[in-house]
Symmetry: C2
Subunit: 241 residues, 2 copies
Amino acid sequence: MSIKGNSRSLFLLVMDKIKSDIESGKLRPGERLPSEAELSKQLGVSRATLREALRLLEEEKIVIRRHGVGTFINSKPVFSGGIGELFSVTDAIERQGYTAGTMILKTSFEESAEEERKRLSMKPGEGVLMIERIRTADGLPVVYCIDRIPAHLAPEGYSAGGESIFTWLESTTGIRITYAVAEIKPMGYNEKVSNLLHCDRSTPLLLLEQIHYDENERPILYSHNYFRADKIHFHVVRRRM
Amino acid sequence: MSIKGNSRSLFLLVMDKIKSDIESGKLRPGERLPSEAELSKQLGVSRATLREALRLLEEEKIVIRRHGVGTFINSKPVFSGGIGELFSVTDAIERQGYTAGTMILKTSFEESAEEERKRLSMKPGEGVLMIERIRTADGLPVVYCIDRIPAHLAPEGYSAGGESIFTWLESTTGIRITYAVAEIKPMGYNEKVSNLLHCDRSTPLLLLEQIHYDENERPILYSHNYFRADKIHFHVVRRRM
DNA sequence: AACAGGTAAGACGTCAGACCTCTATTTCCT
DNA sequence: AGGAAATAGAGGTCTGACGTCTTACCTGTT
């Protein structure tokens, strides 16, 4: 069997193949992979190439290798990468077992402020599309979101109700957001936000201030997410470098 | 020249060597590395081993490889990985431009509580070493730390003043902490903690509740870090998976 | 002189096969 | 039965070769 079908590097194809075999259930957690010699023959690649793929899979904790013993599919899909994984707010809510909903408060084109131009690398005079929404979990408001996008990237305006901004951007402009840098800022009571989220002085809030970038490192989306900390919390996987 | 001095895997030593050459300035951003054939000869390892190291360095964006061209030191160290990088509290304080200090409040061996046994995978009856400290920035208290370690991993007790728990653990027990999972919990005013950190009701606090693991995925250290959110803040790099 | 195309050098990508080292098991001796 | 030694088989490393891609240079034409 060979998996060659060149477009990406071979070792990447090998990684994809193994990953998809795990997801499809052909390989199950804890199971031992065939030996490197055997597996490389099965995949139709050299052992060196297979080893580059396995080394990366090991780095990602998808696989565990033990000298003299074998290579195993990691049983615990580790921790969900937590907040280190970039997902939409909708996903975040659903992962914690609630049903997600959205209320759009306002969408408008506006002049860009200094702060926005700085974060989004915009020139004076360019406008921004601003979207204010409240996300709900089981009907209760838990997140207040303000998203800003340079106007020239958002020609048609944002209308769809529940649709994720990520998917909307990708389908209308082809821009794919690949990563974000988030600042984590705890906040005390804030009149406007606390009211919107129906919580009182004793409920701590968490602000996630994020800049999202596409594959070319262009800043695309600047967002403020205010969370009710009693309903939503985050974890981070921290790795030693 | 050879870098062998076996303890860790060869490819890891190669990675360390290249990283340290970057940090020491022997290799500068944008510079091209010698060819793989040349470099492997210089380091005294095979090209296959060198390539495993380079592949991982590429994954970490430390190095950029271009087919047919060469391997280059990445010029933009991207963003500091932020809180996604595991570093000591001391480092975190110094990165923000303050001078770090430590005050030990208490160290004691205690019975393990249910919660601690759960987090650290301990059996009933095992004790824990508990360390309470306050970390200061320019003399001001900014972090209150409670660290717990299974007693059998901490035979001699923790005495050294400024020493990092990480380095102390590694030098006395050989245990090397490689990653941690942190929960981020904003907190309002808390009488004990707020007093220790000399702040009032209006200062939000951030609790970083972490479990540290070694290379074998054994939980080693369970720590609570309470931060003054006005003095210290975090960012996370979030990647799409 | 300017341009286009061909060619060759050198880089990373992949391959094949060998040997080393470590682990777990089996075998054998006491 | 128990422990020591041999063994099989896994990952770890090495060597040398060839493939593919970039780049730079050389050359011939306009």
